[in-house]
């Protein structure tokens, strides 16, 4: 019997998700044994035309990482959607927009202006900007169109499952692959990680006081972190309570607070809103001035609470001047 065909693709991303597949270590051998990798730009020399040549649905599963920043990424996502039985949004960027999604706090024009004109290292006297189409003597050149805003993968194509994380851990990746191979998949649309917030699997949860209240917030570089005690109880902004578990609290084990890369739990409509609501709730004061002082410790609330999820959030992005 022919082995199932698997594709990996990257959109707006840092490359860490690709690394995470390699992080499967020996495990990757088992995967390779069980499947045929038919497309993986970072590692194997297949072309877009190879994919186009396949029959619809011929690929069993396509893992797509990265957010959708430009038209090429959208086109590739759509192509893979057509050719694959299952599409999995792999990693925080594909799932919720991720770090590239923070660009939605500004807009396309501001980005282009900075990158092509204003940045200190830019020398661009003619104010040249990348154009989607350009005629040159040799023929027509085409560049992907840079979108107004970053989108999540499911904002451009239908997604079957989500693997969260920046990047997804080897464990949840492996579990997902096993589930696919064995056909034991949950309901479509599921996020293939924990069902509970991270605190449930964090060893430090047992050190929390009954009532979790903080009188000030600190950033990791400002304090010597007590590794034996719940970080949030120490006033270090750990987003474990807001964030889907499944990563086994790797960051916390390493002495760093959770920044929320596994995204929200299933019942939560807006990760950042929930995070802000939760953290604001546990600040132990009703005095506005005191509360304001506590939150001075967070110079970038949008980037803190929506670090991985601006495109998936209820935030409309940068308000356009009327």
């Amino acid at each position: 019997m022919a082995k199932p065909k698997v594709a990996f693709y990257w959109c707006a991303r840092c490359g860490g998700c690709e690394e995470s597949v390699v992080d499967l270590a020996e495990g990757v051998l088992k995967v390779v044994e069980a499947v045929d990798i038919v497309f993986w730009p970072v590692a194997l020399d297949f072309k877009r035309s190879d994919v186009e040549a396949m029959a619809d649905g011929e690929i069993a599963v396509a893992f797509i990482n990265g957010a959708i920043r430009n038209s090429e990424q959208e086109a590739m996502a759509k192509l893979l959607r057509k050719k694959a039985g299952l599409v999995i949004a792999y990693g925080a960027c594909a799932y919720q927009g991720g770090i590239p999604g923070l660009a939605n706090l500004t807009d396309k024009e501001a980005i282009l202006q900075y990158v092509y004109q204003q940045s200190p290292s830019t020398s661009n006297g003619n104010g040249t900007r990348p154009q989607p189409h350009l005629k040159v003597p040799e023929g027509d050149l085409e560049l992907p169109e840079f979108y107004e805003a970053v989108k999540t993968l499911d904002q451009v194509i239908d997604v079957d499952y989500y693997l969260p994380g920046c990047p997804p851990t080897a464990k949840i990746t492996f579990q997902a692959i096993e589930a696919i191979l064995s056909g034991k998949l949950p309901e479509k649309g599921a996020v293939l990680a924990g069902d509970r917030a991270l605190c449930y699997e964090c060893d430090l949860n047992s050190t929390k006081p009954e009532k979790l209240l903080v009188t000030d917030l600190k950033r990791p570089h400002q304090v010597i972190i007590d590794r034996e005690k719940c970080l949030l109880a120490q006033g270090i902004l750990c987003l474990g309570p807001v964030t889907r578990g499944g990563c086994e609290a790797q960051c916390v084990k390493g002495g760093m607070p959770c920044t929320g890369c596994f995204g929200p739990l299933g019942r939560v409509r807006d990760y950042g809103g929930k995070a802000l609501s939760a953290i604001a709730s546990i600040v132990d004061s009703t005095d506005e001035k005191v509360v304001a002082k506590v939150f001075e410790a967070l110079p970038d609330p949008a980037g803190t609470f929506y670090r991985y999820s601006v495109p998936a959030s209820l935030l409309a992005g940068k308000r356009k001047a009327a």
Partner: protein, 663 residues
């Protein structure tokens, strides 16, 4: 976001004109027409008064004929008619919680100028309600049995009256008093205004009735240390401090007191505010209930040296009631309702040093005067100054610690009247010249003004002005040996110096020193001044914000004896209303925590103002006691994982509602 919105919703929308209250501003016809086109809406109507019988009939008929499964009424505030329409839909055979209400009157027509904008806003609100109603679920009000026993905290006249009222109705009452005897402040008073009947004569029969009632279980020298549970089902822990005399064995003969090694009283008697002396074994006053002596371990020689001949023990003999080994006991009680009758404390005039209290021996507080003029007081009713003289002139200073920017801004309500009473009694007993220094005379009760007139006619001088200072600095031979009151007589417009032999400070009423701790123990609210907060100042004056806990007497604010007794009766009636109903029904707007999803992050636990959430160390999740939940939603807003949800305010319902108003 997951959930099960009813996508087969069949919604009826009813727009009320409220006469012209709504229809005068909102285009009700256009609104009904708009509502008719919203998704899921089967019928929409407008009607002059939806709350009227024909209006409600309209709904019942539509629900039956058109098989509606959701009803939205756009009318007035839910405070007014939510219950009405819930009953209407229930009469039509529908679960009442599928109903939803839009407030067009208070939220739109009464507060809008522009009819067009008002109509648009109404449309948005109706759309929000329609989208929300789809997500409504069938709910049942929660029902719990009511324990028929009542706890009364405080055994002053309020606690006594409430206890006797309940006991006479056959209810079991636990009366907890921290002093050695019940009776409270009233037991210390001599006469009561304005009728001048003797406080003891009217109080002690009631105290005795408490002792004799088999339905009242009295815990004296006791304090409540822990309260848990909820209306109908409170669990209370009471700490009973040692009396060192076994209440079950003692008959109250008092012979042990006679036989004490101290032949005379040596220590200040607290009941007489230190004006009299007592022995280490004593009864605070002859009519004390329980009429059992107690031993003060701080002054008893046996406790100090173990070398006392113990005449008390010898005299008690075979009865063997004296027990030096008694320890603090803890008693657990289960009750359904609680009456707080914890009373007040009097203002400490040392806080206002200009009045010389503690400096000049002949400056007294009004409560001290009550003891001094009392026939059973330390001087047997003789008004003798601390230096042994009899006063020839007396100044009574009103508003000490009341109506004062520096201490308490409020009026203590009883001081004018008791000052008049004391003026009358002191004049009667001493023949001295009496001066009353007042800011305003406040005599608004039954027979009060008449009493004022009477005291005026008796020749008591009234000077309108606040005394600035009590000094001993004589400036004339007439002032020698006297205390001089400097005062601006605001009616004459001059500064006067009035020499007197005795000064009475009419101290105001303040919340008990431990009012805040008690408030937290019982989960009550407090006003800015620190008095316990009633649920509504006019319409729920003895209720609190904690269901099943009621207020009686001065812990809610200064008041006189008749008002206190009336309030105690009202509190008792409220308890009986719960007891006789037998169960409590609660709005199912409670929160719940899905323990399959909760991560046990602890965030919600500190949020709950009602201590309804705790951490289950076995399941490692937060657990919510639904019976304690008041539906405030604090935990739901805080829950970072969406595991805490609230009935009637589910995320799905709120998001749908927001979507509706935005469009």
């Amino acid at each position: 976001m997951k959930g099960n919105g009813n996508h087969n919703a069949r919604i009826g929308v009813y727009v009320c004109h409220c006469g012209t209250n709504i229809a005068g501003k909102v285009d009700v016809n256009a609104l009904a027409e708009y509502a008719g086109k919203l998704p899921g809406v089967i019928v929409s109507r407008e009607y002059k008064y939806m709350c009227s019988d024909p209006g409600q009939e309209l709904i019942v008929k539509d629900v039956k004929d058109l098989k509606l499964n959701r009803v939205v009424v756009a009318s007035c505030s839910p405070h007014l008619h939510e219950l009405t329409f819930r009953k209407t839909t229930a009469n039509a055979g529908q679960n009442p919680y599928l109903f939803h209400m839009v407030n067009l009157r208070e939220h739109v027509s009464w507060v809008s100028e522009d009819p067009i904008a008002a109509t648009e806003k109404s449309k948005a609100l109706v759309k929000a309600a329609v989208l929300r109603a789809v997500w409504h679920e069938e709910l049942e009000p929660r029902r719990f049995p009511v324990n028929p026993n009542v706890l009364i905290v405080g055994g002053g006249i309020a606690g006594i009256h409430a206890a006797l009222t309940l006991a006479s109705a056959g209810k079991q009452v636990y009366l907890v008093e921290r002093e050695p005897s019940i009776g409270g402040h009233m037991a210390q008073f001599d006469k009561t205004f304005p009728t001048l009947d003797c406080a003891a004569c009217i109080l002690t029969p009631k105290m005795t009735a408490v002792k004799q009632s088999s339905n009242i279980h009295l815990y004296s020298l006791s304090e409540v240390s822990e309260v848990s549970g909820f209306v109908g089902n409170f669990k209370v822990k009471v700490k009973k401090y040692p009396r060192y005399i076994d209440e079950a064995k003692c008959v109250g003969c008092g012979e042990c007191i006679e036989e004490c090694v101290y032949k005379e009283g040596k220590y200040p008697n607290e009941f007489d505010l230190g004006l009299g002396k007592r022995k280490p074994i004593y009864m605070s006053f002859p009519q004390a209930v329980p009429s059992i002596p107690l031993i003060d371990s701080a002054t008893c020689i046996e406790f100090k040296s173990h070398k006392c001949p113990k005449g008390c023990v010898e005299k008690c003999g075979d009865r063997n009631a004296i027990d030096f080994t008694q320890k603090v006991e803890e008693v657990e009680l289960e009750v359904g309702t609680i009456i707080m009758a914890t009373g007040f404390k009097t203002f400490d005039p040392r806080r206002l040093p200009q009045y010389g209290y503690g400096k000049f021996p002949n400056v007294y507080t009004s409560l001290e005067i009550e003891r001094l003029v009392n026939a059973s007081g330390p001087t047997l009713g003789q008004v003798i100054l601390r230096d042994g003289r009899r006063p020839e002139s007396i100044g009574i200073l009103h508003c000490i610690g009341s109506r004062d920017e520096n201490t308490n801004k409020y009026c203590s309500r009883v001081c004018c009247m008791y000052s008049l009473k004391l003026a009358h009694l002191l004049k009667e007993k001493t023949g001295a010249h009496l001066y009353n220094f007042y800011i305003d005379m406040r005599t608004p009760g039954k027979g009060f003004e008449e009493f004022y007139k009477r005291v005026l006619d008796e020749g008591v001088s009234f000077i309108r002005g606040k005394v600035a200072e009590v000094s001993g600095w004589a400036q004339s031979p007439a002032e020698e040996g006297k205390m001089i009151l400097r005062v601006e007589d605001t009616l004459l417009g001059i500064i006067r110096r009035i020499p007197v032999d005795m000064v009475v400070l009419s101290t105001g009423l303040e919340p008990q020193a431990d009012q805040q701790e008690v408030r937290r123990l019982f989960n009550l609210g407090c006003s800015a001044e620190g008095w316990f907060l009633e649920r509504h100042p006019k319409l729920a004056p003895v209720d609190t914000f904690t269901d099943g806990i009621f207020l009686a007497g001065c812990n809610q604010g200064p008041k006189d004896i008749p008002d206190t007794v009336a309030q105690a009766g009202a509190a008792a009636a409220q308890c009986m209303a719960h007891i006789d109903k037998g169960f409590v029904e609660m709005e199912p707007n409670t929160a719940w925590i899905d323990e399959e999803l909760c991560s046990g992050c602890h965030v919600c636990i500190g949020m709950c103002p009602y201590s309804a959430i705790h951490f289950d160390t076995e399941k490692k999740v937060a657990v919510l006691n639904e019976a304690l939940c008041k539906g405030c939603g604090s935990c739901v807003a805080a829950c970072p994982s969406g595991s805490a949800q609230q009935n009637l305010f589910r995320d799905e319902q709120l998001f749908a509602e927001v979507e509706g108003v935005l469009v």
